[in-house]
Symmetry: C2
Subunit: 218 residues, 2 copies
Amino acid sequence: MSDIRILLVDDHPVVRAGLRAMLADFPGVTVVAEASDGDAALVELSKLNTLGEPVDLVLMDLQMGSGMDGVTATEKIKAGEAGNPPPPVLILTTYDTDADILAAVEAGASGYMLKDAPPEQIRQAVLSAAAGQTALAPEVAARLMGRIRNPSPALSGREVQLLELLATGMSNRAMAKQLFISEATVKTHLVHIYSKLGVDNRTAAIAVATQRRIIRGH
Amino acid sequence: MSDIRILLVDDHPVVRAGLRAMLADFPGVTVVAEASDGDAALVELSKLNTLGEPVDLVLMDLQMGSGMDGVTATEKIKAGEAGNPPPPVLILTTYDTDADILAAVEAGASGYMLKDAPPEQIRQAVLSAAAGQTALAPEVAARLMGRIRNPSPALSGREVQLLELLATGMSNRAMAKQLFISEATVKTHLVHIYSKLGVDNRTAAIAVATQRRIIRGH
DNA sequence: AGGGCGATCATCCAAATGGTTGATTCGGGT
DNA sequence: ACCCGAATCAACCATTTGGATGATCGCCCT
């Protein structure tokens, strides 16, 4: 059987070099192309497809400095826009936040590994993913379990709206005026937000909401 | 003249492999040791020192998942605890926020490069740093320049530190305990921060500081 | 028809935060 | 020797925020 043909996607030349070197040590896999962001990845995919040399696995970072991010790219790949059938996508990234994992899984990723994983773990993940199986880093799997056991209550639309204003530094009074409601109502919403996020003041709420990507953080 | 002897410090095996591969392509440099965090780095340094084979340059990430972080490690290296004279430290990291840069420079780093830099830029930085010169990434240098041209009153190191804790949602009391200072002092710092940033409460301060990339917006 | 939930508002009280003034210490620079 | 800014702390008071409780209204769902 021929080698597993891999497309590397990462905006850091250093990381690409590392993966290339690491994968070169694994028998049975070959890096056939590289890209520095999602746009370039899609181009590479379709190019290789028309050449009749489709890739078997996309190994991609989620955070890309510029260009299309990993989640969007995963969605597009899975939509089949760049060759049929779409190859499995293995996410290899730095962060293991709930929001990141969730987004990746929802976008159709076949696996989620962390960059600080030992080479052997990465090798296993690459092989499983290429074989069509799911490969999750132990840390990630554990986190998902915790998430299922501890479902954090969803914020209502109004609450998210409050949270967004809150993150701009507005006072209760300012938010009340902006939303045409009373300060009392603002306070009620805030109390609900705090209890849902498990915090007890506004700055902590912003910190948690930002970290969970409930609101934008920059 | 003999090769520049380098110690690699990064908690990601992938990144270490990448740097190793990249540096192998540069003539005149040799990676003599690797470490996954600050503690291990100090051990390696003193070990090589007693062997009479001191390193000429430490190439280190700032963010280390576990163990001693890069800033602390830089301080210790510069304090000469791990061999005399202390080698220059070149920071190679992912983020270019003021807080990170400030901390690294204050800790005595000789340079600050971003991981998404092209190999050639990294090569130049390695050579300059090993030669005892300062090497800043263009993005970083530009940021510092803009800071100078835009005389928005500079925050002191302590103030930035406060701001970082603030952004995690800590109360005045919590910050006071964490920094071993009184709440009165915390409040004084906050007042200074507010006036320098042109705001009048903590959440607004976080919003502005994040926008200006004084701190990381997660 | 009734139950649940989101959104709205009020009141009362406690705790945290913000604003002001003033003071001390320490280090760097003229 | 002198000045200045950073960092430290204190005391005071006004304002804001947080927490508890309770209430009304409208909507969706069964």
